[in-house]
Structures are given as structure tokens and as C-alpha cells.
């Protein structure tokens, strides 16, 4: 049986009032805009009661001045089933306000596969996932300072990379 998205939303809103603020539909894809402060509880409920066992992707968007809140963390969650229409994928979006260190709860306690995905989002956007067991940079060098996928970062600015490279050369053994 395919998923009844509206009853899912009302079940979530009943348990966590006002947590799902918007439902967007586009070309058969469903997106729920959810409350950032209850993201972990919503994800846990989706996993435990609605069968969304798999976190397919976790990423982020920086809207800079285009939209407020500035950042949006995006979750693609998947429910497996034996029949074609039992396989459901929905997208969750949670807005994160601009700050010195923008913050959202980690979903590693819900899906342990979120570990490296959240590290990548932290590496590229500087969004801090509170409750993450090991929040370090994953792609860029550990002493790299900027967050290169932020829209106010010049994508051709190689100075910070050069500094990390020089330090790695001088320190020798790593």
C-alpha cells in the first residue's frame, strides 16, 4: 500500500504540534518543511513508526540573501517495500538561521549512516550538528579555516588551501 502523505503529516503534527509547516509537491516528489528544533524527534518517529529505515542523503543549501533563514538542511529518507508503490522517498527540509556557528540537532542517533554526511555538511557549510559523535572535517584538511560551499566564499580563493599545504609540508610526519 502506498503512503498516505496527508495522514503522515497529521500524525506528526498531532504528536509534535506545528512541526510540519509546509507540504510541497513537484513532479511526484514530496517535500515536507519541518521545524528545525524537533528534527531528531521527527526523524526518529519516521523511522520507528512509518518504516523510513534508510537515510538516502543529507545535504544543505545556502540561500545567503535570497531567503531567510539562510541555510536549509535537506534529508532524503526512504521506505522500502516489496511492491513498487511501497517504496517511498520523501524529502525533509529544515531552515537554519545564520549565526557564528549555525546549529541543528544531529540525526546520527536515528540513522548511524548520517555520520559522514553530517561531517561533509559541516565541512562545506560550517553547520554544527549538536550530538554528533565525531564532528571533524571530512574532505578538506583539518586545519582549513573557510567553509567553501558558503555562497559568500570565493570559489577560486586558494589561499587557505595553500596555507594548509605549507603547514603539512613543514610538519612532515602526519
Amino acid at each position: 500500500m502506498s503512503l498516505d502523505i496527508d495522514s503522515l503529516i497529521s500524525a506528526l503534527n498531532e504528536e509534535f504540534p506545528g512541526s510540519v509547516t509546509e507540504k510541497l509537491k513537484w513532479r511526484g516528489e514530496t517535500t515536507l518543511v519541518v521545524d528545525k528544533d524537533r528534527i531528531r524527534a521527527i526523524c526518529a518517529r519516521l523511522r520507528e513508526s512509518h518504516g523510513f529505515a534508510f537515510l538516502a542523503d543529507l545535504t544543505a543549501v545556502d540561500y545567503l540573501t535570497v531567503r531567510s533563514p539562510r541555510y536549509e538542511v535537506v534529508y532524503h529518507v526512504h521506505r522500502f517495500g516489496e511492491e513498487y508503490d511501497e517504496n517511498v522517498r520523501i524529502r525533509l527540509k529544515a531552515g537554519v538561521e545564520d549565526a557564528d556557528s549555525p546549529e541543528i540537532d544531529s540525526v546520527v542517533p536515528v540513522w548511524s549512516g548520517a555520520d559522514w554526511l553530517e561531517r561533509e555538511v559541516y565541512d562545506m557549510f560550517g553547520i554544527v550538528f549538536s550530538g554528533h559523535p565525531d564532528l571533524r572535517r571530512i574532505l578538506m584538511p583539518e586545519d582549513y579555516e573557510p567553509f567553501p560551499l558558503r555562497k559568500d566564499f570565493d570559489v577560486r580563493d586558494r589561499e587557505a588551501s595553500k596555507r594548509s599545504f605549507q603547514r603539512a609540508l613543514e610538519e612532515g610526519d602526519d
Binding site: M140, P141, P146, P148, F153, D154, V155, R156, D157, R158, A160, S161, K162, S164, F165, A168, L169, G172
Partner: protein
Amino acid sequence: MGVNASPALGGEGFLTTKIEAFANWGRKNSLWPMPFGTACCAIEMMAVFASRFDLSRFGAEVARFSPRQADLMLVSGTITYKMASVCRRIYDQMPEPKWVIAMGSCTCGGGPFDSYAVVQGIDEFLPVDVYIGGCPPRPEAVIDAVMKIQKKIELEGAPIL
């Protein structure tokens, strides 16, 4: 080098040469490449080593995955700044004399990746002897580069001690 095969010597014959020319003749015909492959150019580099193009015809088939037994570094693929320190360290571990080939557009100048992470040409941190353009270069171009290195060794050589 001069070859002598005088009957007065019982037909045995001998060579006259300079020790430097002799050493460089040996070097240029027994280049041991250190393959530093980081991207798609490395696939093309494997084709150069394999039977169809067969770099062993030029004495350079013994690809050593240890820098301590290599004298030709074949850098093939996009080099990021994070990888650059590793690349430099491997180069430093190679014994003298040594040569470097930059294979492909990425190693020569960053290729299409004008970004915060990619080195815009490995000559920022390595002394490159021969550059090969192309994305990726044909195996013939790599063979040509190895032959240019051979020519360079023959003409310029390297100190014996």
C-alpha cells in the same frame, strides 16, 4: 662511445667511453617510473604500461610503487592541495637523480578545475621536466614524453656522485 674490434686483440674487442656517458646511457634505458595516479589519466597510464603500447620497449616497464626504487615520477591526475603535500613527500623520498613527467591538463595547469581545492599546475611544488597536454593524453604522447626524458638524460645527464 667507440667500438674497437682489432684482430690484434684476438677479435675480443672493447669499448672506449666516458664514465658519465656510460652511466647516463644506463640511466636513460632503465627508467623506473613511480606512478602517481590520482584520476582518469592513471587509466591511460596503465594502457601505456600494458601490452598494446608496452613502455618496456623503452626500458621503463618496472613500475615501482615504492619511491625509494624509482627515478621517474609520472604524475597523472588532478592534484588537490591536500594531496600535494603527499605528492611532494613521495618525490622527496626518491633517490637522486630523478625526473618528473606531468601527465594531462590537470597536472599541467589545473585542467577544468579552477577551484579552491585544486593545484593549478604541479610545478607549484615539483620541478617538472616534461609536460604532456591532453585530457587524457594518448599513450603515444606519454611514450613521446618518456623519450624526451631519455633525450634529456643523454644530453644533460646527471652527476655521477
